[in-house]
Structures are given as structure tokens and as C-alpha cells.
């Protein structure tokens, strides 16, 4: 592990709540760790479990999926469907041996700028503690891997 390693965390934020909450954290000038890269999705229910796996393949150390609180989904039930997918995916990945805490989930509303920054603090700390992600990583020195990957 390099001495200067910084966690690379991918945050899938739902457009209507979590992304707006992140925006609010920003406009309120609340400081939170800069380790996240945000991908804005219309709804937490849009998350295909393959996104999470692809992220881990590509070298991401941690994934956060964040959506609207139950009952507040802009599309009414997207977060409920996403909740079931998230639950089964998380338990399955942990069963396989992916460290607990690599993939995390949260509900953050558009008004919760403070909570958003707190969630990022916690997730970043967890990933820092776990260290760089080694599992699933696609290695370019293996045969059959395109160099552009």
C-alpha cells in the first residue's frame, strides 16, 4: 500500500434528494472529505448491481448508494425497489468475502446537507480503515485483458 494512498469512493446519488443534499452541503460550505466522485442518477432504484461490481473492477475502493427516504421518492416507489436490491446485493457481496463496509447505503434528503457530509465522513473513514480494494480488481497484466480497459 502506497504511503500516499487516498480512498477512491464512488457515490451514486439520486437526483432529487441525495444529490440536492450534497449541493446543500456545498452551498452551506460544510467541509467533508474530497474522496468521493459523484454519479447523479434519477433514483436509487436505477442502481443496477452491476454498477457496483464494475466500480470495484475498475479500481474503486468504496461505493455509496444514496437515495430519498422511504415515502419521499420522486418516482413514488423507486427507493423501495432499490432497497430490496441493495439489501440482497450487500448481503451477497459480504457472503462472498468482500469486506463489510466497502459498499454502503444511505437515505439523505435534499434538506440534509449536514447528514450528507456526516455520511461521507463515516464512509471515507471506513474505507480508509479497510485499505485499498484488492478483490475484483481487473489487472492489466493478466492475459485476455484489453490494454484500454
Amino acid at each position: 500500500m502506497e504511503a500516499n494512498w487516498e480512498p477512491k469512493i464512488l457515490a451514486f446519488l439520486c437526483n432529487w434528494c441525495s444529490y440536492a443534499g450534497a449541493d446543500l452541503a456545498g452551498t452551506s460550505r460544510i467541509q467533508y472529505p474530497p474522496n468521493i466522485r459523484v454519479i447523479r442518477v434519477p433514483c436509487s432504484g436505477r442502481i443496477n448491481p452491476l454498477f457496483v461490481l464494475k466500480a470495484l473492477q475498475g479500481g474503486i475502493d468504496g461505493v455509496l448508494v444514496s437515495g430519498c427516504h422511504p415515502g419521499d421518492c420522486h418516482y413514488l416507489s423507486g427507493n423501495y425497489v432499490g432497497r430490496r436490491k441493495s439489501a440482497t446485493l450487500k448481503r451477497f457481496l459480504e457472503y462472498l468475502g468482500i469486506e463489510v463496509g466497502r459498499v454502503q447505503f444511505s437515505w439523505v434528503s435534499a434538506a440534509e446537507g449536514g447528514k450528507f457530509s456526516q455520511v461521507i465522513e463515516e464512509v471515507t473513514q471506513d474505507i480508509r480503515r479497510l485499505g485499498p480494494a484488492k478483490q475484483f480488481r481487473k489487472r492489466s497484466d493478466e492475459f485476455g485483458v484489453q490494454s484500454s480497459e
Binding site: 448491481p49 452491476l50 461490481l53 464494475k54 473492477q57 422511504p70 415515502g71 416507489s77 423501495y80 425497489v81 432497497r83 430490496r84 436490491k85 441493495s86 439489501a87 440482497t88 446485493l89 450487500k90 448481503r91 451477497f92 457481496l93 459480504e94 457472503y95 462472498l96 468475502g97 468482500i98 469486506e99 463489510v100 454502503q104 447505503f105 444511505s106 437515505w107 455520511v119 463515516e122 478483490q135 475484483f136 480488481r137 481487473k138 489487472r139 493478466e142 492475459f143 485476455g144 485483458v145 484489453q146 480497459e149
Partner: protein, 314 residues
């Protein structure tokens, strides 16, 4: 005798034209093997057999024959797959006639092969004993010692969903308990579990036998064939092999009947059922759903409850 009953029912269905096609098991070309048989004439029904090597899940053929009325020979797991396919509208319920065989658990031919020295030339079964004759040896094996692990944990061996049962229902009990097997694995550290998964999937040659054997893998375009987005490549790098197996198992969430056809089909003998069994357990615990038991229960990932557990969400 079960075999006789299957032939009688099949003959009757074809003669009375209640079905267009019977799909069952016939004698295989190799010892310890059977082969799926498709017949449209009542005279051919004498080719149908039943023994401890009828390990395939014949429901895999249903999506291909959805235009015909099919009579299908099913064990408990196969019947549940047929119900699951019907729930996903791969098949109309009245196009299917299930000939249900209460299952005595299937024999693991790999275990038998490992227990003898030399090539097996002949195998026969009688009263719970397997008589194996081979190149320079002859031996007797106790059938109960050579069952598939997925059969040992099965608690739905009687196909109650079938239109007719060829024998009395069997007493349902797991031979070994499901949870201790999974929880024994879960007691191992995450590094150990990952190393096991890595080791198993490293043998994968991406032949997709598991996918072809599985009745629930009927997608016209499988995720492995997707080029936009290209999830994984066709080569054998370890990350893609792991990705393939995680996703194939995950795509069975709430759909897998636990038949074990995937593991049985694998030429590299990769452990696969331990993945789907965990997902089946999760789905049962969290959502109270078991594949193919309740015809009217919606697929668990296609629905939700306001009170679903969310202890894992910040």
C-alpha cells in the same frame, strides 16, 4: 413402479392428444447418465425411464416450447422452476401438464466416480444399492452416501404443483440442514471466503454450461453478450470470471429453485449452488419468498413492502 407409471401417463396424454409433446428422461449413452427425451408419438413412451441419475432440470426446455402443450416429467425442484417460469410469463399455465415424481434425491455421479478406481463401464441401481462394474473392478455402493449436496438440503422434493403424482408424496426433511452449511461457511473469515470463491472461479472456462442448464437463464441477450455497456470481456482474466459468477447467481435472486443443474453441468466442477443457496436464504428471511411455492406470490425483487428491513442503511 415409478417408471411404469410415467410411461402410462405419457402414453395416455399423447394418445388422447392432451399434450403435443412429452419431455422426460431416457437411457443415457454413458453409465450413470440419462438424457432428456422428447416424444410426440405414444409408441415412443417406452423409452422413458426413471432412476437416480435423472438429474437434469427439464423445465429448461419450456421457454423454447412455449407454443406447444407440453407434458413434462418433473421432480420437486423442476416443478418449482416451471412455476417460476410461468410467473415470469414464459409459459401459459394451461400449456403445461406436470407429471410429478416425488424425488428420492439424485445420485452425484462425480462422487461415484471418485469412489472407484478405473473407468466405469456399467452401472445399475436396485433397492437403494448401486452396482458399479468397471475396468477390472466390481463394487456395491450405498446410494444414500452418494447424493448431491443440493439434494441433501432440499425440503420440497414432492412436486405438489404437478397435475399428477406418480407416487406417494415423500416425507419432507433436509438430510443436512441448510443453515448450518451456509453458516459454517459464514464463520470463515472474509479473506478465506474470497479465496475460496477466487479458487473456484479460476477454473471457469466460460463455456456457459451453467447458463444453458439453468431454466431461469433464458434471456435473449445475456449480460455477458452486452456490448453497450460492455460489462465483461470474453477472455479468462480472473476479475471477469468472478464478475460472471457473481452476476449469474445474483440474477437468480428470488428465481432459483435450488435444483443444482448449474453445478452438475459444469465441466470444471465449480461450486455454484453455495452462491444461489445463500440468495435463496436471504430472500426467504427478508421477504418470506420461496421460488415456485406460491403461484400467486409476485417476484420479490419486482415488489416491495413499506416495512422492508433497512438496518443496513445509514
Amino acid at each position: 413402479m415409478i417408471q411404469q407409471k410415467i410411461r402410462e401417463i405419457a402414453r395416455e396424454l399423447l394418445t388422447k392428444k392432451e399434450v403435443d409433446l412429452i419431455i422426460g428422461f431416457g437411457e443415457g449413452t454413458l453409465p450413470l447418465r440419462t438424457t432428456p427425451r422428447f416424444m410426440r408419438n405414444a409408441e415412443k413412451t417406452d423409452r422413458l425411464i426413471w432412476n437416480s441419475f435423472c438429474e437434469n432440470n427439464l423445465a429448461v426446455y419450456l421457454p423454447k416450447f412455449s407454443r406447444f402443450k407440453v407434458g413434462l416429467v418433473v421432480k420437486g425442484c423442476d416443478a418449482r422452476s416451471a412455476v417460476a417460469l410461468s410467473l415470469e410469463k414464459r409459459f401459459k399455465a394451461d400449456q403445461l401438464f406436470l407429471i410429478g415424481v416425488p424425488c428420492q434425491r439424485m445420485v452425484d455421479r462425480r462422487k461415484v466416480k471418485r469412489a472407484v478406481r478405473g473407468e466405469i463401464l456399467q452401472a445399475r441401481e436396485e433397492e437403494g444399492i448401486l452396482y458399479i462394474k468397471g475396468d477390472g473392478f466390481e463394487t456395491k455402493l450405498n446410494r444414500e452416501d452418494f447424493l448431491y449436496s443440493s439434494c441433501q438440503v432440499c425440503i420440497h422434493r414432492t412436486p405438489l404443483q404437478a397435475n399428477v403424482l406418480v407416487d406417494d408424496p415423500v416425507e419432507e426433511y433436509p438430510l443436512t440442514e441448510i443453515h448450518p452449511e451456509i453458516s459454517a461457511f459464514e464463520k470463515r473469515s472474509s479473506e478465506e471466503r474470497w479465496r475460496f470463491f477466487e479458487k473456484e472461479t479460476s477454473r471457469c472456462i466460460r463455456c456457459y454450461a451453467c447458463r444453458e442448464a439453468c431454466p431461469m437463464c433464458y434471456c435473449a441477450e445475456c449480460f455477458v453478450d452486452s456490448s453497450r455497456p460492455k460489462w465483461i470481456e470474453k477472455g479468462l482474466n480472473s476479475s471477469d470470471l468472478q464478475f460472471y459468477h457473481v452476476v449469474r447467481a445474483y440474477h437468480q435472486t428470488g428465481r432459483c429453485s435450488g435444483c443444482g443443474a448449474c453445478e452438475r453441468a459444469c465441466p470444471m466442477e465449480i461450486r455454484l449452488t453455495y452462491l444461489t443457496q445463500k440468495l435463496n436464504q436471504e430472500v426467504k428471511e427478508r421477504f418470506g419468498f420461496e421460488t415456485g411455492i406460491d403461484r400467486d406470490a409476485p417476484p420479490p425483487l419486482a415488489t416491495f413492502e413499506a416495512e422492508d428491513k433497512q438496518e443496513f442503511i445509514k
